[in-house]
């Protein structure tokens, strides 16, 4: 073992070329693990939760600016409760509370599928609170006159929001929404708490079984950076391009 470790760190780059087996030795701790598969689950968790929380968050934002006091109250209460509860507790509640006590199987017969869907549910519920607040701050950047002009030509509240206010609000908050999306990507690791086979779950397993803990940590950290860095850059660029000129 000690000898292998020595070889790994001391071998000059040229040795890799002349001895192809060197690479195998360096990355042998990855053998037998489906790292890409685990990250694929992470990506799936992220994408589904992103779509779900965008929809639910937009609805919440609409409630928070609606003229109906009951809806406003619900939106405000939801955001303030959900965003202040740790995500771990929300995900655990989805699994232990919803599934085990109330028997919500999420239409899944397979335990694994059920866990995945419950994790998405928890992530959507949690992330939507942040999406809602980002969009609401975007709504505040749209001048009041835009909504007045929309109402003045006879658009109703929903049309005004859907056709005039929200499109402008979204464009104003693409940057903040990118932050939420990046946070969401990393938050999917909490699904490990209910045993969803995503990246963090695999990392935990590997760290238990292999010696190269630092290297394992680095591989997974890099994996997340590879996912999130382009996200931030791309959405930053999109946000600039779509910005509404006034």
């Amino acid at each position: 073992m000690a000898r292998r470790r020595f070889e790994r760190w001391r071998a000059p780059p040229s040795t890799y070329a002349t001895h192809p087996e060197a690479r195998e030795i360096v990355f042998d701790f990855l053998q037998g693990y489906d790292v890409l598969g685990a990250f694929w689950t992470t990506v799936q968790l992220t994408l589904l939760s992103a779509v779900g929380s965008l929809v639910w968050g937009t609805l919440l934002a609409a409630m928070r600016v609606s003229p109906v006091p009951l809806m406003r109250g619900f939106g405000t209460a939801y955001v303030n409760i959900v965003r202040n509860i740790p995500l771990t507790i929300i995900i655990l509640f989805a699994s232990l509370g919803l599934a085990d006590i109330f028997g919500a199987t999420m239409g899944a017969s397979d335990f694994k599928v059920q866990g995945f869907r419950l994790a998405v549910l928890g992530l959507v519920g949690y992330t939507a609170a942040f999406v809602c607040e980002a969009i609401r701050s975007g709504i505040n950047t749209v001048p009041l006159g835009q909504a007045e002009a929309a109402r003045a030509i006879g658009l109703n509240f929903t049309q005004t929001l859907r056709l005039i206010v929200l499109p402008q609000a979204f464009r104003a908050v693409i940057g903040p929404l990118a932050n939420v999306l990046i946070a969401l990507t990393k938050n999917t690791t909490v699904a490990a708490a209910i045993g969803v086979a995503e990246a963090a779950t695999l990392m935990k397993t590997m760290i238990e079984n292999e010696a190269q803990t630092l290297a394992i940590g680095a591989v997974f950290a890099l994996g997340f950076v590879v996912l999130t860095l382009p996200m931030g850059l791309l959405l930053g660029w999109v946000g600039k391009r779509l910005a509404v000129k006034r």
Partner: protein, 258 residues
């Protein structure tokens, strides 16, 4: 000119389009509209003038309920102003509004701005709406700008697009809330000309403005407001040459002598 306005006033007696009866409104402790009674006849052009803070903009905005009133009634074409919901939206479609700050939809092109109401409120066919929109844009002289975004246009052009957007709904009455106050001086006339043409074509108009030239040339009646009340109303010639109230005399002396 005088004959025309007299003829219009004759029509006025028989055909009242907008009627405000003892309308009151407060902003907190401020009593911005005090017992306003005002009747506007079909085809009449009424110009509302007065010092800032006299409530004239608020008056204009209550007519399509962008501002609610505390008491009193407002009827448009015989129907009282609905409180909320679909009925109110339908009524607003019949009342065109032009704002001081244009308020063109910033994320939509000029053409889309003028088409939107026709398609979404009037449920017009898209092709028809586009034809109509292009014709209106030509009419207000910005036909060549149809595919630009509002921010790419000058203030005068934007305001003319805003007029076209309101006209696209086929309104019964047009409200103008200080339409030229945010414009550079050289752009004021292009907007006033469009408004004057509208007035000649017989559109019912309520215009809040500081443009006394427009009031003289296009109005059938001038309504002078101060401190939330209608102090005086008269034909423009009479109002500008021989105002009856001291408040109006004072106001005119301040704006006309330099």
């Amino acid at each position: 000119m005088t004959e025309v306005s007299v003829a219009k006033e004759d029509v006025a007696a028989t055909d009242e389009l907008v009627v405000l009866k003892s309308v009151n409104k407060h902003f907190g402790a401020l009593h911005v509209l005090q017992d306003i009674d005002l009747t506007i006849a079909r085809g009449e052009v009424v110009v509302v003038i007065g010092p800032s803070g006299s409530g004239k903009s608020t008056l204009c905005r209550t007519i399509n309920r962008l501002e609610t009133v505390d008491s009193g009634t407002i009827t448009i074409d015989g129907k009282p102003l609905p409180h909320e919901g679909r009925e109110l939206a339908r009524l607003r479609a019949d009342v065109g509004m032009v704002f001081q700050s244009f308020n063109l939809f910033a994320h939509k092109t000029v053409l889309e701005n003028v088409m939107l109401g026709q398609v979404k409120v009037r449920k017009a066919d898209k092709k028809q709406a586009e034809e109509n929109a292009r014709a209106l844009l030509d009419r207000v002289g910005v036909g060549t700008q149809a595919d630009k975004y509002p921010a790419q246009l000058s203030g005068g052009q934007q305001q003319r697009v805003a007029i076209a957007r309101a006209l696209a709904m086929g309104p019964k009455v047009m409200l103008f809330d200080e339409p030229t106050s945010a414009l550079d001086p050289e752009m004021i006339n292009e907007v006033l000309e469009v408004m004057q043409q509208l007035a000649r074509e017989g559109m019912t108009m309520i215009v809040v403005t500081h443009e006394m030239g427009f009031a003289r040339s296009a109005a059938n009646r001038v309504v002078f407001m101060a401190d939330g009340r209608i102090v005086e109303q008269a034909a423009p010639d009479q109002f500008f040459s021989a105002p009856r109230s001291d408040r109006a005399k004072d106001f005119l002396s301040k704006i006309l002598h330099h």
